[in-house]
Structure formats: structure tokens, C-alpha cells
Amino acid sequence: MARRIALAAAVLFCVWASSATSPRESAGITVSPERVQIGLFYGGQQISVRAAVPDGGAVAVRILGSTRELVLKKKGKKGGLLWMNVGEVAYSDVPSLLIVRSSQPLQSLGSVKALRDLGLDYEALESQAVAPNDQEARCLFGEMVKLKEREGLFSIKKGGIQFSPLGQGLQEASATFFLPPKAPPGEYSVDLFAFKNGQGTLLGSGSFALEFSPATAFVSDMARERGLLYGCMAAVIAILAGLATGFVFGGKGEAH
């Protein structure tokens, strides 16, 4: 009996102890929505991030997609006149999405080294993506960033974070960012960093998943894996659509 009481007490203590660490949970991140579907009418998605953070500090939120090797064509002049692709340049471990939002300008949050260690600026990405001896990739790194920024896949800037008081030395930081339609399906991590006196710490992490809806997945998979069937299907539907419209309008042909 005494052993059972001791065991129950131990279980209760463990439950209490785990709940005692729940203030850490309150400093964790809530990401909404946790799942985003790419449907037929998908045009990007607003993602909101909320977290309880200590009063008075500055914060930064980073959204990161999965990394992979990225091979790009580099532009150059041929014949001294026409701009065209003249070769390739390769980068390793490039995230499919990199969005950073901060409550203050990044440079004022911490030292260059601190930001680099936390992976919050493009210098951090450069050191990870460019092979040490690849001078060409290093020279064109800014162009790669520009390409990604134009697609909305890379963005590092101040703003987009609001604070509201929670009491007990805490405030709620909330950020909303736009997930561009070109972001590929996959798992995205969301990290929240707090800064004080030039030092940054990871307060918490969350994630969300971006996936094809059954309809878009069907079309995409079929086009990739059963190209011949997909092509025949597309052709037959186009013929039927053409005959149907010709029948409805009674027209005598058009574009060719």
C-alpha cells in the first residue's frame, strides 16, 4: 500500500513538474493555420504567428522551408550582343523559403556574429550555401537572393510584429506574413528569437505544412508519373471542349 502511495505521489510529482515547465510552453509559438492546402484557387496564404515573450525585449521571427541544392543558369553576353544563359552556378542547402520579420532593424538587435549564428541574415545563408572555394557562386550569391526575393520566397525586413500586454512580465508578440503562391509543398519551421543587450536566444519553435489538395495532387502526380495518359486525356478533353463550343456558338474555327 505504501509503495502504491509512493508511486502515485511520484506520478503526481512528474505531472506537476511537467506542468511547472509549462511557462516555457507559454513562451512557445502558436502558428495558424498549421496546415495549408494548395487548392485549385490557391493564391498564397496569410500565416499568423503568436507567442508570449518577455516585456521590453525585441523579437525576430524566421520562417524556413526545407533545404536542397539549387542549380541556376548564369546570364552572360554571347556574340557581344545577346544576353543568354552561359553556364551554371550551384548552391547547397538553400531553403525553399526564408522570411525573417523583426520588431527592430536586424542590425540593432545584435552583432553580425550573433545574427549569423542564429541564421537570421543572408550572410548566414551565404556561408552555408556557397562552397569555400567557389568564387563564382559567391559573386552571384546576391543575384540568387534577388531572384528569390522577386518570387517572394526570400524576404528579410523589419516590421510586421505587434505587441500587446499580457501581464506578469509578459507580452504577446504577433506577426502575420504572406506565404507566396510559389512556395513549394513541404514542412516549414517557424522560430521565434528574443533579443536583449545584443544577445539573441531561441524562445520557441513551431511549424506548418503546405500540401497539395487531392485535386491538385492528382493533376500534378498524373502529369509527372503518367505523362502519356495525361497528354491523351488533355487532348481528348480539349477536342470535346472544342466540339462542344463549336456546336454551341456554331462558329467556323478560330485561332491557329
Partner: protein, 309 residues
Amino acid sequence: MDAHIYLPIAHNSVSIFLLLGLGGLCGFLSGLFGVGGGFLLTPLLMMVGIPPTVAAASDSNQIVAASASGTYAHARSGTVDFKMGILLLLGGMAGGTLGVRLVKLLRAVGEADFVITMFYVVMLGGIGSYMLYDSVQGLRGKNESDGVAASGGPSIYARIVGALPFKMEFERSRITLSALVPLFLGALVGVLAAIMGVGGGFIMVPVMVYLLRMPMHVVVGTSLFQILFTCLNVTVMQSWMNHTVDFLLALVLLIGSVVGAQIGARVSRKLKADQLKILMSVIVLAVMIKMLVGLLVTPDVMVSYGGGH
């Protein structure tokens, strides 16, 4: 309903109204002028962010639908020369297959976008300039021809064609010609259709009129017949080998195109032909200049994705 449509093959989301508008504009122009539309659509799609190879392949799929209704109507009117059409078609099939392989090869070496753009610049420049010249001449009253080339003595072309073997009689077109001529010309148009994503009508019609000497009333129906099957082949081959046909894109374009073509056909009856041709040639040349500038001016970004994606 959201105003965007996600294109799973192009991997992009584009305003559905923009696509309907582009399809409608090209349909309107084709309804207005009888030919054209498809050859303008691919560069316009490229301008709104569709990768060139996807734009070209999906345009072919859209042309299948557009030409199917036309072929059906012309076949019922008896204005399709099936014998000539089948020969052009056989050549077109071979040319289309060759063109798709060429696109695949170009994608592998990363030159597909450049070659497609160059083809467009050359073709649009040539056709736009010719149309502008022809319509200005028409307005000045100097255009004496009625779509058939004036004949002087036998030209080098006529002598070569006349010496070719495998002569056939084409009753519907009332001509006798070597079967090799339509086979070769069909192949040429097939290659262009695969690379540029066009049905080739804007090349095929002058080829039939000036090189095959077919009567005009048979030309349009036969051209549509050949284009339908050439683009069918290109659609299937592009889907199979390059996975670049975005069926959703083609479908939205088709809806816009059908409506635009009906409006264009009604408007065309109220306007002068030469004025319309000048307008068309200006549009064609403007698109060509836009693409040419892209090749000549230093790019904003010095890197790009390979293979059209």
C-alpha cells in the same frame, strides 16, 4: 471564390481574370483577322510569369480545342482537302516529334528559353513586318494580288517542285503536286509548332496559298485540319516527354478564347480589312520588340532557373 487559379504544372498562381483576358484577347484577334492568336498567346503567357516551355506546350493543348470546332464546321461544308491535309499531317507529326525532342535537348543544355524567344522574335518580326507592308500597300491601292502570287516565268521553286517524283492529284484543291512537297512543308510547320507552341496557321496559310497554290476556300479548312492533329501530337508528346502541358491553364485560356473569337468575328464585319491588318501588325511588332529588348538589355537578375522552370 478566389480570383487566382493555381497551375500545378507551371507551379504558379495567376489571376484567373488575367488568363481569361489573355485568352479573350487572342481569341478576339483571331476572330477579327481569321488567323493568328495562338502565336501571340505564348509570349503573353511568358510575360505574366508562366515558364516558356509550359506556356508553349499548354498553348498547343488550347489550340487543339480551338481548331477542333473549326475543322468540324469546315468538314461539314466540304472545304477540307483531306488528301492534302493527311500528307501535311504526316509531315507535321514527324516535325512535331522532332521539335519536341529538340525542346528536350535544348532544355538539357539550358537553351530552351533562349531558342523559343529567338524563334518568336524572328517569326513575329517577319510576319509583323510583312503584314504592315501588305496593309499599307493595300491602303495605298497598290495591292493587286488577291492572295495568289503573281506568276512570271517558272521560278526556281516551281522548277524544283515540278521535277520532284511521287506526283499526286488533289481533286479538292484542283492541283497536281509531288507528295514530298506537303510532307516537307508539314514537317517544317510541325517543328515550329513544337518549339513555339503554335498551330502554325499563320505560316501554313501563306504556304498553302503561295507555295502549294491551293484555292483560298479550301486553305482555311485544310489548315485547321492539319493544325488540329499536329497540335494533338505536340500535346501528347510534350506531356509524355517533357511534362510541360498545364491542362488547367489551357482550359481557362480556351474559355476566354472562345468568347473573344465570337466578339472579334462580329467586330470584324464592321471594320476595314487593311485598317485591322495595320492594327494587328502593330500588336505583333510590339510583342516582338518587347522580346527583343529582353535579349538586348542587361538583365535585372544575372541568374535564372534552368529548363524553363
